[in-house]
Amino acid sequence: MAIAVAEKRRDSLGSAKVREALVGYAFVILPIAFFFLFFIFPMVYAIYISRYDWGVLGPIDSVGFQNYRDLYHDELFRRALRNILVYTAFVVPAQMALGLLAAVIVNQKIHGRPFFRAAFYFPSLASSAAIVAIFIYLLNADGLVNSILGTNITFFADSDTALPSIMALNVWTTSGTMMLFYLAALQSIPPDVYEAAAIDGSSPWRTFWKITFPLLKPGHFFVLVVSIIGCLKVFDQMYIVSGGTGGPNYSTLTVVLYMYQTAISDLQWGYAATIGVALFAVIFVFTLVQRLLFGRPEIS
């Protein structure tokens, strides 16, 4: 009798487990199906396509690694790669510094904290297209910036100033997001650390550099990773400023823009997939180096 009851219970426990698992599969099947079809499968498919001469209607000829060899010798690709590396080298430190500055200020006991936080974050809300439109207006030859400087610079139309202008507008746009990440990191620093520093008579300046800044290490690395990845993928601003050409004189050509042109204008889909895979490799190497040097990036 007792055994029978125990067995029955085990049976019902077993079937409850099976039921839970079945329900689990039923619940994840739709999201996972979408995910496989539009994220996982495309990642693999991209590598497959990159080994073909692939027209708009599908594969024409298998070419092995020829696309990769061509890419290695492709002057335009090298130009695009150099552009995004230069862009990253300037934009990442600038938006980190500005984001940190804004976060530290907004984290003080001041009047109107929510207002200032919102003000700094505001440009991050707008679409890249709207931001570029506003900057094209402000930076045009007869625009506000030129009238303040008393100059006549065609910022976006000159190959010396086009990329730096986009850098400036993107630092301005995204530093608000970096501020939010830094704020979260700042708020995870325990207050007693500051109390100890105050007891030692440390000046605010010294406290910041000797205590806050080093304690923000996880925050720095998180922001660094997000910022670098965002920069390497940059596309919208260059496309809109140059009308999709990457001009003047290829000065605003980025890797994603080159990939877009290769596919949509030149209809070389296999080669475009190769560019995508190469971009992935570049980003992957950056991420890997960072992880090896600093461990897993986390905000707090």
């Binding site: 619940f27 919102a118 993928k233 992935f280």
Partner: protein
């Protein structure tokens, strides 16, 4: 990092009320106002210019227009078709948001609470894609959509196939489940105490009822974050709408703006009006739900 509204309490505040206190305070406020101006001024000028006439817009840079007019808005919305673009963007952003709310919450719930073989492996796979640049999907996704669901292979099954390039459906499908949202929902469900589900079980509620009636109402902050992040992301999206929706009737606001810049660069009041139109809905959303916005961005981490 849970999806809770950010606290307003300044935790990391630097003490030191001694000698340099007033000087520091002054410096901080000066910096604040200067920075805030730097961040706001471009918007002031775009609003101002959007209310000017074309002749006035090229004459000078008075912040207050002489004769404010909304003509530029009217023209942009009707003659330049931005009403249509805004409707397109609103439709696509809303559809994608609703799909993500449902699919990511039900998936997130299963990943957080239901035990099934392969759960961890599947979830790690989802997380891994967060590391991969979205644009890597460009070529394959285009191929998949252009002969959906055949993906350029000569298969006989299924017998029907569609070209989804140039359709809203194509754009909506590829964004229907976003990894960040799945991640956000799962993390939030993990923080909800199990007591609620056990109580529901005692009441005889099934799994779906527990998810729908008990867990979803408890996940308000996470659902708010998903709604805001997704709607903003889709409303502001440029890359995918440019790639998939190439004909003017299907343009999103952002692609419409880009095309307007290409054709009528110096119609400044109209250009600024179009920009303001694209910013306003997100700005309103931000004002209404600032806390969830900030908590969501911080929790989602990888953005843009």
């Amino acid at each position: 990092m849970g999806v809770v509204p950010a606290s307003d309490a300044p935790i990391g505040e630097i003490p030191g009320r001694s000698t340099g206190y007033r000087a520091t305070k002054l410096l901080v406020y000066t910096l604040l106002v200067a920075l805030a101006l730097l961040y706001f001024v471009p918007f002031f000028w775009s609003i101002s210019t959007s209310l000017k006439t074309i002749p006035e817009s090229v004459q000078g840079f008075d912040l207050i227009p002489n004769n404010p007019t909304i003509d530029a808005y009217r023209e942009v919305l009707t003659e330049f078709n931005f009403a249509r673009y805004a409707a397109n963007s609103a439709f696509m952003a809303t559809s994608v948001t609703l799909l993500n709310l449902f699919l990511c919450s039900i998936g997130g719930y299963a990943f957080a609470r239901l035990r099934f073989p392969g759960r961890e492996a599947l979830f790690i796979l989802v997380l891994a894609t967060l590391m991969i640049p979205d644009q890597l999907r460009f070529v394959p996704v285009f191929q998949i959509l252009s002969d959906f669901p055949h993906t350029s292979w000569n298969l006989d099954f299924p017998p029907v196939h569609y070209n989804l390039i140039g359709t809203y459906q194509g754009f909506i499908l590829i964004n229907a489940v976003l990894a960040t949202n799945l991640f956000l929902m799962r993390q939030y469900f993990l923080t909800i105490p199990k007591d609620f589900e056990e109580a529901a079980k005692l009441d005889g509620a099934g799994y779906f009822k527990t998810y729908w009636r008990v867990m979803l109402p408890l996940a308000g902050p996470a659902l708010a974050a998903v709604t805001i992040l997704t709607f903003q992301g889709m409303w502001n999206d440029f890359f995918w709408s440019l790639v998939i929706l190439q004909d003017p009737d299907h343009y999103s606001l952002t692609v419409g703006l880009s095309s307007f810049i290409g054709q009528y660069k110096t119609l400044w009041p109209q250009l600024m009006a179009a920009s303001v139109i694209s910013i306003i809905p997100i700005a309103l959303l931000f004002i209404a739900a600032q806390r969830y916005f900030i908590a969501g961005v911080t929790a989602a981490g990888v953005k843009g």
